[in-house]
Amino acid sequence: MQKLSYKEKFVQMNKEAKASWIVAAIVIAFWWMAGFGIYHVWGAEWTILGMPAWFVVSCFGSWILCVGLVWFITAKVFQDFELEDELPVVDVSTPDAAGKEETK
């Protein structure tokens, strides 16, 4: 497992959040194109297993695509690191208690 400082963890987590949004965007785009796109061109004439192709490709396709992409980013973009930190526990919930840091 990688050793990251508190700051480095946040740089990494921002990257991971961005990757998650990109996956969502790709899935949404695919979903629209597959569903309305196929229906626009072929209507309900083209069928897969008796069901309309626009439905099969958009619903099952988006699902499989989504699982694949999520697997890909968790393997390639997401990194393992320690969630606990060596830094002291803080409580910043009150604005006036300036610098009230306690070590536990």
Binding site: C59, W63, V70, F78
Partner: protein
């Protein structure tokens, strides 16, 4: 005999759930003596990937995923499955975007609830109290909705009266949640998710065999759609917009907002967010993203597709489309298999209730009571805290059961706003709070309350923009007010920024 066969699997399942609750209570006695709220409300940050995924999905999939959703799909056809499939992003997005930040900051600040995090980020007691109150109100009404739905299925399937069904199954949920706390909720949710999948497979098998195979079923559906298009009554089951008399019943605008309501904005649901504070390590959250997406897709696409296909078995139903699934289970399945299948929707209900109950209780005990104690710097006895937590959870559950016996109209009405209301209140507060340094208490308060008010008022008065769902108004107004408030109000201290945005220093 058939009544017994139908009830037996349900009884066994209930006993297993209760057993899990008491087992967890016993096993975590030591951990609770040390830090009661950490163990009771988030299970001591110990969830692994599989359980995390299952509890997230089980909490999210409610009675409507098993009952009303497939019922409408029976009527409207494939368009409704397409509509429901937007939920495929609901599992990984919250974990991928908020999951680790909440986990890291939660550990650093010893936060146990989402309101704890809000308190740290925005340094505002008023905002924290508002958030806790919104959570308590909406969670209680949502629980009620689930109790009502669950009791209806239970009585339809077993022949017991509504009240008897309610008391019986509700008592089980409240009991195991109360004694076992969050960890019991997570483990029972996992059991629930598994039986939901089993129920779905049983149901699929029954529909395919009773309907005479896929070809036969699709022929029936094609016939029904053809008649609908020709006569202008009923829905074109084969089109994505499910046209009725040439008018789309699911418009493109509605699809757009469905991606917000059941897709992207589920990020803001506090019952999902709190799960980000409860897992063990980064491996768990990575795995949960993959497993969660697999299960949520299987369940949402699968159940709604079964709704469509059940048209091949049932051409007509009496009453509302909600009765499609119970009728199917009660009339077309072997009693024992029906008993196993009926656990599916019950489990969907119970897993949602348990999560709402434990999170609602944490809002009272941790966010309001314990915080008041800390402010007054009074010491907290872990044993007293234990008794109090159990009492609040039990009372909240009992109150919800009591109200569901004869549900007051006002609560049924509030429940309509609960899901979207929670999203409009917390979506920007969590997302911008964790990713935008300028976000502050004024923005969060204006955006949260303003968005929530805009959403509820337009919903109540039935004010609409085109055919968009009003979530668009709620989230839109919320965003505008949030940004406005952030520019008007005072910025948070540097120590908050150093905690939440260390990468910018």
């Amino acid at each position: 005999m058939s009544a017994f066969l139908r009830l037996a699997p349900v009884f066994v399942f209930f006993l297993v759930l209760l057993g899990m609750g008491f087992y967890v209570q016993k096993r975590s006695a030591a951990a609770r003596a040390e830090d009661y709220s950490k163990d009771y409300f988030i299970g001591g940050r110990s969830l692994g990937g599989f359980v995390l995924a299952m509890t997230l999905v089980a909490t999210y999939s409610s009675v409507s995923s098993f009952l009303s959703g497939p019922g409408v799909a029976w009527q409207k056809g494939f368009g409704w499955v397409y509509y429901a499939s937007t939920q495929v992003v609901a599992a990984f997005l919250v974990l991928g975007v908020l999951g680790k930040k909440l986990a890291v900051i939660g550990r650093r600040t010893e936060s146990v609830t989402i309101v704890d995090i809000i308190r740290q980020r925005y340094q505002s007691n008023g905002l924290a109290i508002c958030s806790a109150v919104v959570i308590i109100v909406f969670f209680t009404t949502q629980m009620l909705g689930q109790f009502i739905g669950g009791a209806q299925i239970f009585s339809a399937a077993t022949g017991l009266s509504y009240e008897a069904g309610l008391l019986f199954f509700a008592a089980v949920v409240v009991l195991y949640t109360t004694v076992g706390g969050f960890q019991a909720v997570a483990i029972t949710d996992t059991a629930c998710a598994i039986v939901m999948l089993i129920g779905m497979v049983c149901l699929g098998y029954a529909i395919l065999t009773k309907g005479g195979g896929m070809a036969q079923i699709m022929a029936t559906i094609n016939e029904a759609s053809k008649t609908a298009v020709e006569t202008g009554t009923g829905f074109d089951m084969l089109s994505p917009t499910a046209d009725s008399a040439g008018i789309p019943s699911i418009s493109v605008q509605l699809y757009l907002t469905q991606w917000m309501l059941c897709g992207v904005c589920t990020l803001g649901l506090p019952q999902s967010g709190v799960r980000c504070l409860s897992y063990k390590d980064t491996k768990s959250v990575h795995r949960a993203m993959v497993y969660g997406t697999i299960v949520v897709g299987a369940m949402m696409v699968g159940m709604h597709l079964l709704g469509v296909l059940s048209r091949g078995v049932l051409l007509e139903v009496e009453g509302s489309t909600d009765s499609v699934m119970p009728t199917l289970i009660a009339s077309y399945m072997h009693p024992l298999v029906a008993g196993i299948t009926i656990i599916g929707p019950l489990a969907a209900t119970m897993s949602t209730i348990s999560s709402l109950l434990i999170a609602g209780s944490s809002a009272i005990v941790k966010d309001i009571y314990l915080h008041a104690k800390e402010t007054k710097q009074e010491p907290v006895n872990q044993k007293t805290l234990g008794h109090l937590s159990l009492a609040v959870t039990a009372l909240m559950g009992i109150a919800a059961i009591g109200l569901s016996i004869k549900p007051p109209d006002i609560i049924v009405w509030i429940n309509l706003f609960a899901f979207g209301g929670l999203e409009t209140m917390f979506f920007w507060m969590l997302l911008l709070g964790l990713f935008w340094r300028k976000a502050n208490a004024t923005g969060a308060l204006w955006g949260g309350i303003g968005g929530l008010a805009a959403y509820c008022v337009t919903m109540a008065l039935n004010i609409k923009i085109g055919t968009f769902h009003n979530i668009l108004i709620g989230v839109g107004v919320g965003f505008f007010l949030f940004v406005l408030g952030a520019h008007v109000g005072r910025q948070n201290d540097e120590k908050v920024h150093r905690l939440f945005f260390p990468e910018q220093f």
